[in-house]
Amino acid sequence: MDAFLLQILNGLDKGSAYALIALGLTLIFGTLGVVNFAHGALFMIGAFCAVTLERLLTLSFETIDPTKTDFLGNPLKVKTPYVESWFGPETGAAIIDWSVPLALIFAIPVMLAIGYAMERGLIKHFYKRPHADQILVTFGLAIVLQEVVKYFFGANPIQTPPPEALRGSVDLGQMIGFQANAIIYPIWRLIYFFFAVAVIGGVFAFLQFTTFGMVVRAGMADRETVGLLGINIDRRFTIMFGIAAAVAGLAGVMYGPLNPPNYHMGMDFLVLSFVVVVVGGMGSLPGAVLAGFLLGILESFASTTWATTTLPGINQIIIYLVAIIILLTRPRGLMGRKGVMED
């Protein structure tokens, strides 16, 4: 039972990342009709926003400590971060310690700007082109973006640890009446799940309860009519692209402490997120979220020892297997609408 609950938690956690990325993807598809293969790269850039902020906060000046030597026997250069000299060692260290949560604030404008530039600079030229062209150009863009990141940050993963206070794990089992040590779960993973729920809720509320959101939804249903009513729907869709980029970016920032970011983490998620979108139904926001969590949980259970010993290799194919079954039985995905990607 406890092992079962643990895998559910793991699944929700994996599902959070899938759902956040898939949400952005399907948002872009639903509004602009573009299949954006660069969306994984946006997730990766988000994670590197945290890395960048951490580097900025630890920018240091060097002083020579003649009492110590470096590995070559020369006097040791001691680095002191500027923030520590400005705000005092303790406050400075605390600011650096909280760099990942701070990066959320840093990442929002950066990601909005990147999303806006991407849409206006490149993707808008491909609206009227076939989906194959869109996939090729955005996939190319993804490769360019990841090579740029690799150029500046190297190929090795880079640690972005959570704040000291949020490291380690909590005994969830004891809280809900199990014996001690039965269900131990990392704090940051719980935070990640609640963060994902909050962001998803925020996006839905924005679309559901604001006039802007209403217009966007109307545009998704019938772009031409909304345009004929004299509303500049293109501008609103561009803003939605920026929001989708920001969602992917924030998902990336928060993901860093779970697994150290590297330049190809976006590609690792990209294909899975597409499967999530397709399973959920192209263009359906609730479908993407549902499918994200569903596939996350399935993947988690398929990785258990019991599953891998019964059906070796099941952990590597489960998602695709389920995708095939769902597409055979429900060709439009779980919550897909009629008429999307159909002529």
Binding site: N10, F71, L72, L76, Q159, P161, S169, L258, P260
Partner: protein, 463 residues
């Protein structure tokens, strides 16, 4: 008047005869001009450095390339000479190899077997490389070694730790200086038993490819021989990025040790996840839970950050070693690049010097002569009585006395057991040496079951 009849068969026959006649001289000239593949005829000789320049191991590849460039400088008499000054063989004089200036070409393995073979092939066929070296994966090493054997050039393996490279996939044209999974297990197990006790239950997570399998098999056998029980072994996909689903079952499995047979990004993530799940603070069976990483790399340890603290593993070489050769190499590399070399850089540098030295002593670039010089000797490691204990014995390259064994082209030397440092003094100071396990303790016979199944075959000089 004579009538000439032109028949189809006649034309074919004449054509074939003429073709064979034209081709004949070139066949003879080819074989008489060069006795072996890519024989260097000018004033230079070209080496091919095949390292991951893109893909997940690009940083390790970049460090290998730095070491190769340094080695080439030293061979050509530039720089401070590095470990040429400490190497026990004094054949090399800093005037290239056999008076030919050393130049090099590079290839990108991308850590993919097919890409690595293609780049090696191109360096051999287009650039005339006489020797191929480098790499950061056993899958790649085995693939490129096979290609070099067929092409008739020497392969000096880079970082490859699978038993198979000099086990079932060994080749006469291939040579490995790096240690292997069996040696890691043999060196590590006694330290584990001494530190954590003999009554332990281990759970293995293993990367699902050649290196992972042999690593698991080796450490499992070595720890079980000391009384440990293996609770479970789980294979994880090489492409896995999040290991939470694999770590969670460990919590309630009854195991009190987690052994991560992972390398590179796999190791960084699985270790980070394991620490997140509180495994290091856990008490099981009345003992503190422990994590072990059998193969450590400083470059990778950096990616895992604070999580490596206190965790035991093994490594081929570490820059903090205090022997003359290691100090000389660190100084030479550190002065040129500003940071200490990795174990990958060290093994690649050594391989280049060892190849050059073998050619110099053999007086020829012919792969068969090189093989004879590199491993064909009769010298042996002291303190080991075995018929297989013969080959080329050398010293002064940072690992103490080392034997390049003739039977399988594997180097035998001391193995370092290391631990993630609790209080690092710099960003490079991540590992501390716990024990130097003597070569005799990691020795095995060439027909050991973990290495059985293949044969070196005959050296292939190509042409």
């Amino acid at each position: 008047m004579t009538k000439t009849t032109v028949t189809r068969r006649g034309v074919l026959r004449t054509g074939a005869a003429a073709g064979a006649g034209l081709a004949l001289p070139t066949i003879f000239t080819a074989s008489s001009a060069s006795a072996y593949m890519n024989e260097p005829t000018g004033a230079t000789v070209t080496l091919g450095f095949n390292v991951p320049q893109s893909g997940p191991y690009a940083d390790e590849g970049a460090d290998e390339l730095r070491a190769y460039q340094l080695a080439v400088e030293h061979l050509n008499g530039e720089g401070d000479g590095g470990m040429l000054n400490t190497f026990s063989s004094k054949a090399l004089q800093g005037n290239g190899i056999l008076d030919k200036k050393v130049q090099f070409v590079t290839g990108d393995t991308q850590t993919k077997s097919d890409a690595a073979r293609a780049s090696a092939k191109s360096m051999i066929e287009k650039d005339g490389a006489i020797m191929i070296t480098g790499g950061s994966s056993s899958g790649v090493a085995v693939a490129v070694q096979g290609l070099c054997q067929e092409a008739g050039v020497i392969f000096m393996a880079g970082l490859t730790h699978s038993n198979d490279t000099t086990g079932k996939d060994k080749k006469a044209n291939g040579f490995r200086h790096f240690f292997n999974a069996y040696m890691s297990g043999a060196a590590l197990a006694p330290v584990l038993a001494a530190q954590y006790g003999k009554d332990r239950k281990a759970y293995h997570l293993t990367a699902d490819y050649t290196w992972g399998w042999t690593q698991e098999e080796s450490i499992k056998a070595a720890t079980e021989a000391l009384g440990w029980e293996t609770v479970n072994t789980v294979k994880t996909p090489l492409a896995a990025t999040d290991f939470s689903s694999y770590i969670a079952p460990v919590l309630n499995s009854g195991a009190d040790v987690l052994i991560l047979n992972h390398y590179g990004g796999n190791m960084v993530n699985s270790l980070t996840n394991a620490v997140q799940f509180g495994l290091r603070d856990k008490m099981v069976n009345g003992k503190r839970f422990e994590i072990v990483v059998p193969l450590y790399s400083r470059l990778m340890a950096k990616g895992a950050g604070e999580n490596v603290k206190g965790i035991l593993g093994s490594t081929n070489w570490h820059w903090s070693l205090q022997d003359e050769a290691s100090k000389t190499f660190v100084k030479s590399f550190g002065t040129k690049y500003g940071f200490p070399p990795s174990q990958a850089a060290h093994t690649c540098y050594c391989q280049t010097l060892l190849y050059a030295d073998a050619v110099q002593r053999a007086g020829s670039f012919n792969p068969c002569a090189v093989e004879e010089a590199l491993t064909g000797g009769d010298s042996s490691l002291p303190g080991i009585s075995s018929e297989a204990n013969k080959g080329f014995l050398f010293d002064g390259l940072g690992n103490g006395q080392t034997l390049y064994r003739g039977a399988d082209h594997q180097c035998f030397k001391d193995v370092l057991v290391v631990r993630g440092k609790e209080n690092p003094t710099s960003e490079f100071d991540l590992l501390e040496v716990v024990q130097v396990t003597p070569a005799a303790q990691v020795w095995y016979e060439p027909d050991h079951p973990m290495f059985a199944g293949g044969s070196l075959g005959e050296c292939n000089p190509g042409a």
